[in-house]
């Protein structure tokens, strides 16, 4: 039997995927703009962040409405809850992309350290890939894929901790680098947070299919 709920859920799902695509593109662009010192691109990303926020609000509003109108239970409820929870996570990933862009603009005229920026670029690209992958898992309803992300944050944690260490050591040697190096630490923090959010989405994906709330990111140690 055809249900209105299914049609509306399909629309909601499409909106979520579109927003996911937008957020992952924004993150990639933001990391790239940081590496290229492209302040104009960074400003565009900051300006466009509102569009991501508006999408989040529209999706949330629709989920509230569907809960009120259809009172979903079991799998229907989990689908709705997953979107409601994951959409906030997406929005926060968008905020991190924006924050990296703000740092890109902030670094104007400062002294730079090439090897740290390279490391930030690698880690940022890795996390942007994680975002793309978790969204692919969402689109393909791939639980095994989602489960395989367990522990992936560890590498990011290691890398961002390294970036912090590198930044501190250059600051100790050269006070002129303090402003830039502080931003490196901050950006590394945004990247680390984004990786945490990726595992949050993977966890909600597993919840959607199995009804189990799991922890893929024990969050052992992180300075950032």
């Amino acid at each position: 039997m055809r249900r209105m709920f299914d049609e509306e859920l399909a629309d909601l799902d499409t909106s979520f995927k579109e927003m996911g695509l937008l957020v992952s593109e924004t993150l990639e662009q933001s990391v790239q703009a940081f590496l290229d010192h492209d302040r104009q691109k960074a400003q565009e990303i900051i300006d466009d962040d509102k569009a991501i926020n508006h999408r989040e609000i529209a999706i949330e509003k629709k989920t509230f409405e569907m809960i009120a109108l259809y009172q979903p239970v079991t799998t229907d409820l989990r689908e709705i809850v997953t979107i409601l929870k994951a959409v906030s996570v997406l929005e926060r990933i968008g905020d991190n992309a924006r924050n990296i862009a703000i740092s890109t603009i902030h670094m104007k005229g400062n002294k730079r350290v090439a090897n740290i920026e390279e490391k930030i670029g690698q880690t940022g690209t890795m996390v942007a890939n994680m975002v793309n992958r978790v969204l692919d898992f969402y689109v393909n309803d791939d639980i095994q894929g989602a489960e395989s992300m367990e522990g992936e944050v560890d590498q990011v944690t290691q890398d961002t901790t390294d970036i912090r260490g590198m930044a501190i050591s250059v600051m100790e040697k050269d006070p002129d680098i303090v402003t830039a190096a502080t931003d490196y630490i901050v950006v590394a923090g945004y990247i680390k947070r984004t990786a945490d959010y990726v595992t949050d989405i993977a966890e909600w994906l597993i919840y959607k299919r199995t009804g189990k709330i799991v922890e893929l990111n024990p969050g052992t140690s992180s300075y950032l």
Partner: protein
């Protein structure tokens, strides 16, 4: 709890705040009421009902027992003529169908009614559909057969009964009988279908089938439904009117009524926190 803390809807029962939705002018209106009042003897059962119903939409009338919603629905096609005095205008296609000289039987061809309990005639399934058509002088067998199939298909019953059209309608299950009654109503090709709790006597699956049927039917008909089942109103209707103590307190798009109603009494009622 002190008396002052006991703040709930009944404190302002005397003149509750009302919110009536103004149908936007670009919407096509199928039927509307103006200053409608219904009296049972001296007792005013419904006051001040001004509602417009958008064409090809489902509108739910909700409210507690005795709130006036069924009284309102029945007045729309003059079912209350013998038991009540209905004042005001009911405008349908530019005509006040509450006017005393209106041909009520002709009017009911355009505005059909389906009741709470399935009431198929004690005739065959086929004859249930053709009876009223024959009464209106239609005898062409091919046309009658076509209408039987067409109506039963629209009411989503055809596949279940196509091999037993000459069986007694009384052999049908409750849900099937109710869909037969809907098929019987739409065989007259009405514009508007009025339904008075059409699914309340049915099990959840039959009820879901009726809802599904109504969603299909709204492509061709304007549907006004009285329901005690708020989830049903939420699931299927485009608009919802909340009746309380003989007045319409709030009328709006269903998604607004169920997410952010404006009147406290509506909030209490749809929350199930009433009385």
């Amino acid at each position: 709890m002190t008396e002052n803390q006991n703040v709930s809807f009944h404190l302002y029962d005397e003149q509750p705040k009302r919110f009536i939705y103004e149908m936007r002018p670009e919407k096509e209106i199928a039927i509307s009421t103006h200053d409608m009042q219904v009296y049972y003897g001296d007792k005013l059962a419904l006051d001040d009902a001004d509602l417009s119903f958008e064409r090809f939409k489902i509108t739910s009338l909700i409210g507690a027992s005795g709130s006036g919603k069924s009284t309102f629905l029945r007045s729309l096609n003059r079912m209350n003529d013998d038991v009540a005095t209905v004042k005001g205008q009911i405008m349908y296609r530019g005509l006040d169908i509450n006017f005393k000289d209106i041909d009520v039987y002709e009017m009911r061809r355009h505005i059909g009614m389906v009741f709470q309990r399935p009431n198929p005639f004690a005739k065959s399934i086929r004859e249930n559909i053709t009876f009223a058509l024959k009464q209106h002088g239609i005898t062409d067998k091919a046309y009658l057969d076509e209408m039987v199939e067409h109506s039963l298909r629209q009411a989503a019953l055809w596949d279940e009964v196509k091999d037993s059209l000459d069986a007694s309608a009384l052999s049908l299950s409750g849900g099937q009988a109710q869909r037969l009654v809907i098929a019987r109503a739409i065989a007259m090709k009405p514009d508007i279908l009025l339904l008075d709790e059409p699914a309340s006597a049915l099990d959840p699956i039959s009820s879901a089938k009726i809802e599904d049927t109504l969603l299909e039917l709204k492509k061709h008909y304007t549907i006004i439904i009285v329901t005690h089942n708020m989830q049903q109103a939420a699931r299927i209707s485009d608009y919802t009117a909340f009746f309380h103590m003989g007045r319409v307190l709030e009328y709006n798009e269903t998604r607004k009524i169920f997410t952010r109603p404006k009147v406290q009494l509506t909030i209490d009622y749809v929350n199930g926190n009433f009385g």
